[in-house]
């Protein structure tokens, strides 16, 4: 977990004054299940990337995909979206 700001450092009224600052927000602790991908048979179709509601699946330059666990809340949508059923949600 990254360092969380204290009440004195948060802008007045809990406002957000920095654009794009959700990049700093680590949601790992929300997760009960973590996606595990069997990469050997991945066709790089991108369905997991398309469906992930938290943009936790990131496209790499070689066309493959990686899970950024800092943003993954463990919802399991990628598991359902994977046509070849290569993603398994495993308990943390």
């Amino acid at each position: 977990m990254k360092h969380l700001k204290g009440w004195k450092d948060i802008p007045e009224g809990g406002s957000v004054t920095e654009p794009g600052c959700s990049v700093e927000f680590d949601v790992s602790s929300w997760r009960t299940f973590r996606p595990e991908v069997d990469r050997s048979r991945c066709t790089k179709c991108g369905m997991c990337w398309l469906y992930c509601p938290d943009s936790a699946i990131e496209a790499k330059e070689d066309g493959s995909y990686d899970v950024n666990l800092a943003y993954c809340k463990g919802c399991g949508i990628c598991e359902k979206a994977c046509a070849l059923k290569l993603i398994k949600m495993v308990k943390e």
């Binding site: 969380l4 700001k5 009440w7 004054t17």
Partner: protein, 401 residues
């Protein structure tokens, strides 16, 4: 004991005119030169915003008057306007305040310095347009500063001070006044000249927090990792406002020649027992105390002006030497260990070394008159409590069986 508040010599010129409490508020809002008013009419508050809309229509007040379809929207519009840096005012009563309820918490947490007159009226059912304090008491945890005015003059002065308090602390302020008794009764009111008011609260807009030149999001989600810290900011501001409000009272007293403090103490110096009230009943309580004094009884009266933040330290000082206090609630907490004002007073006095016996009364619900005889009865019960060293369960004064 703290030094007694002193009135200075009023600056500028003063006009003495007859005004109702509601019109006194409208004049204060006009002199405060507000930028935006968003309100929905509701008895007994209506004549405040009616007068203000007349002032705007006559170009006596250069403000945006937003007609909304409900109090929920009125408060929402006020928050939005306040975020742009505008000076904002609204007024409501009873059901209207309840309808605003969820938005009240947002106003305080977003730190928008909205000033609102709340003309105290009973909550339905049965439908009742008369005075008690159930509307404000239901919102006492909303994070709003709550100040109570006991006369038209106080309604005027408190409204002027409310803008200063709100904008300095960046917290919303509710100016409470009793429906009809204050709102519709005409009294002589000393109006300062608008130049003096302008010097006291210059109409300088605050920064525009929602300017398109800024990257700014407000009213965002506060997940469990952040809500607590975000909420605490307004709790901290409320705590800090305690001292600042006192300084503002002192400054106002000096500049406008009045006497305001967190609480008004009457004959407390040598009192053995006292009644504690809020709002306009102070006058009747004083008459009752005066009659008892004429008979050699040592009765006193305490009237709370600042209810949020609760002036616990001032109260502790004021009650020193008292054997008993009768606390008169004008609202009920059904099923609670006591009624709202009593609960706060007893919590504040819990730490007192030799605390007085506390007796709870409920009186005047739904505009029922609280007569001098009722007060004499409450004094008598409080005196008995002082003698016996113990109190009775809550007494519902004037209730027919």
């Amino acid at each position: 004991m703290t030094t007694k508040a002193r009135a200075g010599k009023a600056q500028g010129s003063t006009t003495r005119i007859g005004l109702s409490g509601n019109y006194a508020v409208a004049y204060a809002v006009k002199m405060a030169d507000v930028d935006v008013i968003a309100a929905y009419p509701i008895t007994p508050q209506t004549t405040i915003v009616e007068k203000l809309s007349e002032m705007v229509a006559n170009c006596e007040l250069n403000a945006e008057y937003i007609n909304v379809e409900s109090e929920h929207s009125a408060m929402s519009a006020c928050i939005g306007a306040s975020l742009t840096g505008a000076r904002v005012f609204t007024a409501t009563s009873s059901q209207g305040l309840s309808y605003m309820s969820e938005v009240l918490f947002i106003a305080s947490a977003l730190r928008t310095p909205v000033v609102m007159a709340n003309v105290n009226r009973a909550l339905s059912a049965p439908l009742n347009i008369w005075n008690d304090h159930s509307d404000a008491m239901a919102e006492r945890d909303s994070g709003w500063i709550q100040i109570w005015a006991t006369s038209a003059q106080e309604a005027f002065d408190t409204t002027i001070m409310a803008f200063k308090i709100a904008e300095e602390m960046r917290l919303p302020v509710m100016v409470n006044m009793d429906g009809y008794i204050v709102s519709h009764t005409y009294e002589p009111v000393l109006l300062p000249d608008s130049g003096t008011v302008k010097a006291y609260i210059p109409s300088a807009p605050m920064e525009n927090r929602v300017s398109t030149k800024l990257a700014y999001s407000t009213g965002v989600v506060g997940p469990p990792e952040y809500y607590y810290e975000m909420k605490y900011q307004s709790i901290d501001a409320m705590e800090r406002s305690r001292d600042r409000i006192r300084e503002i009272y002192v400054g106002y007293n000096k500049m406008f020649g009045r006497i305001y403090e967190d609480l008004t103490a009457y004959h407390l110096e040598d009192a053995e027992y006292a009644l504690l009230t809020m709002g306009s009943t102070l006058g009747t309580a004083r008459i009752a105390a005066e009659r008892l004094r004429a008979k050699g009884k040592k009765a006193g009266v305490i009237s709370l002006r600042t209810f949020r933040p609760f002036p616990s330290d001032r109260l502790l000082e004021a009650v020193e030497g008292l054997k008993a206090i009768g606390i008169m609630d004008r609202a009920a907490t059904p099923g609670g260990p006591s009624n709202p004002l009593f609960a706060d007073v007893s919590a504040a006095l819990y730490g007192a070394k030799k605390g007085p016996v506390l007796q709870n009364f409920v009186a005047g619900l739904g505009g029922r008159d609280i007569t001098v005889d009722d007060f004499l009865h409450m004094f008598k019960v409080t005196e008995e409590a002082a003698g016996e060293g113990k109190s009775r369960p809550t007494i519902y004064v004037g209730l027919r069986e």
